[in-house]
């Protein structure tokens, strides 16, 4: 069996477990695609070829010895470069962190992916310190959109979006503080899962905003997304926020369950404004396929976005305060100036934002008493041009960077689980958020799977690569 770029993780794992494909061949195929296309995409900052080959050979040896292998046997994957990878320096998209010691141990989620048989092939480009929605990076250059390399991948998990969208690897891991998994998923036309806050361990990943940081997978199919998510679940004493009350809740066995019993609504108000026609079209297609007509207002969502912004900029400033003092000129200037400004926001206003957060969470809890799923745009637009500073919406010139995440921020602000699904519009795809109540990733994945089966959502092939 040979590997094709669009082979899913599920296909690879099945073929490897069945002895029709070796883990080493699957790994070599991914390494070859990275070599062929990454000079264009710039999605990888480190390729861990030796480690990957050794891991693949070990899996093949296990299979030859008749041992049981995991559900991701031989599946190549890569991680945003804020995950610790033993032997590499965790740069988190920065210049400054390259001076840190090499990581001694992998991040928990890498350990869990590899325990399920997956093979780490490298670390991925990202916006500096994850304070980014574009995928641009002044130190490493931008990760590029696989459907039009003159356009943004989206960020901050830009390399994750680019590598999966470009079919270099079937699965990547990223982080999402305000939209950093969902935005690149939207721009690069792939599936992304931002789980409930506290669901997946963040141990041994470089933080940004402790109370908003989530880690999660990006993939080219819903099954692959669920396989990775299921492999990574579980408590972890090394992350104080990681749940100790929820047991393992596998989602793969539930994917094909019907969605006809679900109460699905369209998020109104803030989520129906500031949109380009493509975003309206995408939400419309998804809603129509699911038979969703009810529009539910999300109270004070714009204010929630503002509060998320305030908490992000101030907690981010606190994290980086000493680096801002000692090495201000080694930051991306745009990131530095935002963080310095964040350090100057008066404390009472931050406390107000945290109190508002509690109020807003209660409002959404009420909403989820009468609906199971909310649909909302993932981004207001398809991928902008690299370096684009403004776009015109309803005749008003608006800054691109500040507005890319306006529809993702009010959701991650209170930690709700979301699957971003790609609607394959031409010439560029765009994502829709499938949002559910806390801890109901299973429902969001089920809806995404139904949409995929209906042909409404799909990861388009990177035809121009």
């Amino acid at each position: 069996m040979t590997t094709k770029p669009d082979l899913t993780a599920a296909d690879i794992a099945k073929a490897v477990a069945g002895g029709r494909l070796s883990a080493l061949d699957a790994t070599e195929a991914a390494l070859a695609r990275i070599k062929q296309h990454d000079t264009t995409l710039n999605s990888f900052t480190d390729v861990t070829s030796d480690r990957a080959r050794a891991r693949a050979r070990a899996i093949d040896a296990d299979i030859a010895a008749g041992k049981t292998v995991g559900p991701l046997a031989g599946v190549p994957f890569a991680v945003k470069n804020l995950f610790d990878v033993a032997g590499l320096t965790t740069r988190a998209g920065s210049k400054i962190n390259r001076d840190l010691a090499r990581a001694k141990r992998d991040a928990t989620l890498i350990e869990r992916m590899e325990a399920a048989g997956a093979v780490l092939v490298g670390a991925l480009n990202m916006g500096e310190y994850a304070y980014d929605f574009t995928g641009e990076n002044v130190h490493d250059g931008p990760s590029r959109n696989p459907h039009d390399t003159t356009r943004m991948s989206g960020g901050s998990s830009g390399g994750s979006g680019s590598a999966v969208g470009g079919a270099l690897v079937p699965i990547a891991l990223g982080s999402d503080t305000n939209g950093s998994i969902r935005v690149p998923s939207s721009f690069c036309g792939i599936f992304g899962l931002k789980p409930t806050y506290g669901r997946l361990s963040r141990a041994r990943s470089f933080p940004f905003v402790a109370s908003l940081d989530h880690l999660g997978p990006l993939a080219r199919s819903v099954t692959d997304l669920a396989l990775a998510y299921d492999a990574m679940q579980g408590p972890d004493a090394d992350d104080a926020a990681c749940t100790t009350t929820r047991g393992l809740e596998p989602t793969v066995p539930l994917l094909a369950n019907p969605v006809s019993d679900l109460r699905i609504a369209i998020a109104g108000g803030h989520f129906q404004s500031n949109l380009f026609p493509e975003a309206v079209e995408a939400v419309g297609r998804v809603a129509k396929a699911l038979g969703a007509t009810q529009v539910v207002d999300i109270p004070e969502a714009a204010r929630a976005r503002a509060a998320a912004y305030v908490i992000t900029t101030t907690e981010g400033a606190s994290l980086h305060l000493d680096r801002l003092r000692k090495r201000p000129n080694d930051f991306d200037p745009a990131v530095r100036d935002r963080l310095i400004a964040g350090a100057m926001v008066p404390a009472p206003l931050v406390d107000r934002a945290q109190k508002f957060r509690r109020w807003y969470r209660a409002q959404l809890a009420e909403v989820f008493k009468s609906v199971d799923v909310l649909l909302a745009p993932a981004t207001p637009c398809t991928a902008p041009k690299l370096g684009q500073v403004t776009f015109k919406l309803d005749g008003v010139e608006l800054p691109v960077r500040a507005n890319i995440g306006i529809h993702t921020q009010p959701i991650s602000f209170i930690g709700l689980p979301v699957v971003a699904v790609p609607v394959p519009l031409e010439p560029l795809p765009i994502g829709v958020q499938i949002i559910t109540a806390p801890w109901r990733e299973d429902i969001a994945l089920r809806v995404a799977y139904a949409l995929e089966r209906m042909g409404v959502v799909a990861a388009p092939s990177p035809k121009r690569l």
Partner: protein
């Protein structure tokens, strides 16, 4: 002419020992202006005195 936020920026920079290059001042001022505008939007929303903050979200 000094901008309205400049004295504040100087005072906080001094209190936090943050170096401010003069050339970066307009960008810092612009960012602070955005942060404060959004913070005011939150501040304008009346909340009961008993409201607990949510520094860490738990479901």
């Amino acid at each position: 002419m000094a901008e309205p936020l400049d004295d504040y920026i100087d005072a906080v920079a001094k209190a936090l020992a943050l170096p401010i290059e003069e050339a970066r001042r307009p960008a810092i001022r612009a960012n602070l202006d955005v942060s404060l505008r959004l913070a005011r939007l939150v501040d304008d929303f009346a909340l009961p005195d008993e409201t607990e903050p949510a520094p860490v979200f738990t479901a």
